[in-house]
């Protein structure tokens, strides 16, 4: 499976994602510049964390105008898996592939720590290797990670099983402890926690590995939804 890791000016978890794919699940990954205009030939798109354009103005806002974005949207619409982590999630909401918005943490500051997540839906292309309601340890590292959406959207997310991960404890003020959601079709996942930082037990947890393995599994054997 061949992944594109999109690199914006200011992305800083691009290499972490690159290693998660290449070392973690032994697949091919390319770092693809925000300036590129084609994503032909990729089976999956990964949008890394970091501070694209310094997160100036609003996290993800400026990156959503980069040339590559058109292609990200095209592949998403074709049903290819698109995973946005942290700043990647913020970008996916800014470009409208995912509903809602990530705003300042309730504490009004950046938080970096290991947190517990609950797998709310294991019938997705990203989570089929997890058990339903499995508790996993994944680090967070963000200042603007409080998920917000209006009531109607929230209802829809719940009805369609689009909430994929919730925090074990409400760590940042997100509505209904939401940590990660997919689009309606289920092929675009955005999450604030960093599974790519949790693929080796020496670094504190390898619970993130199954997420990448799930994507691979889907590619090989299709989704069992």
């Amino acid at each position: 499976m061949k992944f594109a890791v999109i690199v914006f000016p200011g992305s800083n978890c691009d290499m972490d994602l690159y290693y998660a794919v290449s070392k973690g699940i032994g697949q091919e990954a390319d770092l693809v510049s925000y300036k590129e205009e084609s994503l032909d030939g990729y089976d999956g798109i990964l949008i890394p964390g970091g501070f694209s354009y310094g997160d100036y103005l609003r996290s993800g806002a400026i990156a959503s105008h980069a040339p590559i974005i058109k292609e990200v949207i095209r592949l998403a619409n074709e049903g290819k898996p698109v995973l946005g982590i942290c700043n990647g999630f913020q970008i996916l909401t800014e470009i409208g592939l995912l509903p809602g918005t990530l705003t300042n943490n309730r504490q009004n500051c950046f938080i970096c720590k290991q947190v517990e997540l609950v797998v709310e839906n294991n019938k997705t292309i990203f989570t089929n290797k997890y058990n339903l309601n499995e508790k996993i340890i994944i680090p967070i590292a963000h200042g603007e990670g409080r998920y917000y959406c209006d009531e109607a959207t929230l209802r829809e997310l719940n009805e369609n099983n689009q909430v994929i991960f919730r925090y074990g404890q409400n760590i940042n003020g997100s509505v209904e402890e939401i940590a990660g959601i997919t689009n309606k079709q289920g092929n675009v996942l955005g999450m604030m926690p960093h599974p790519e930082r949790a693929i080796e037990s020496i670094l504190g947890s390898d619970d993130g590995l199954k997420l990448f393995k799930s994507m691979l599994e889907t590619q090989k054997n299709g989704v069992h939804i």
Binding site: H65, G100, T101, N104, R106, R146, Y148
Partner: protein, 82 residues
């Protein structure tokens, strides 16, 4: 040169954590009569005079970049400049 002043504010339905924190701080500072604080963004954009569809451009810049329509609204004023 044309100066455009843009105000971006959170929609009323969205909680403003920063505003709340600031309100609390004003109380600690000894101003209990501050009953609400909302925090927004303020921009000054300068355009070269030859801007043809100025209002349209400003709307597009606000919708597409300066404000997040999920949670924010905006308004602006246009002023000529020397």
């Amino acid at each position: 040169m044309i100066l455009v002043k843009i105000y971006v504010t959170l929609k009323d339905s969205v909680v403003d954590v920063q505003g709340e924190a600031i309100k609390d701080a004003t109380h600690t500072m000894g101003y209990p009569n501050v009953s609400e604080v909302r925090m927004g963004k303020y921009f000054e954009l300068k355009f070269d005079d030859n801007a043809e569809h100025l209002e349209q451009d400003v709307d597009e810049i606000c919708d597409g970049l300066l404000a997040n329509p999920n949670i924010e609204s905006y308004r602006y004023e246009i002023a000529e400049e020397a």
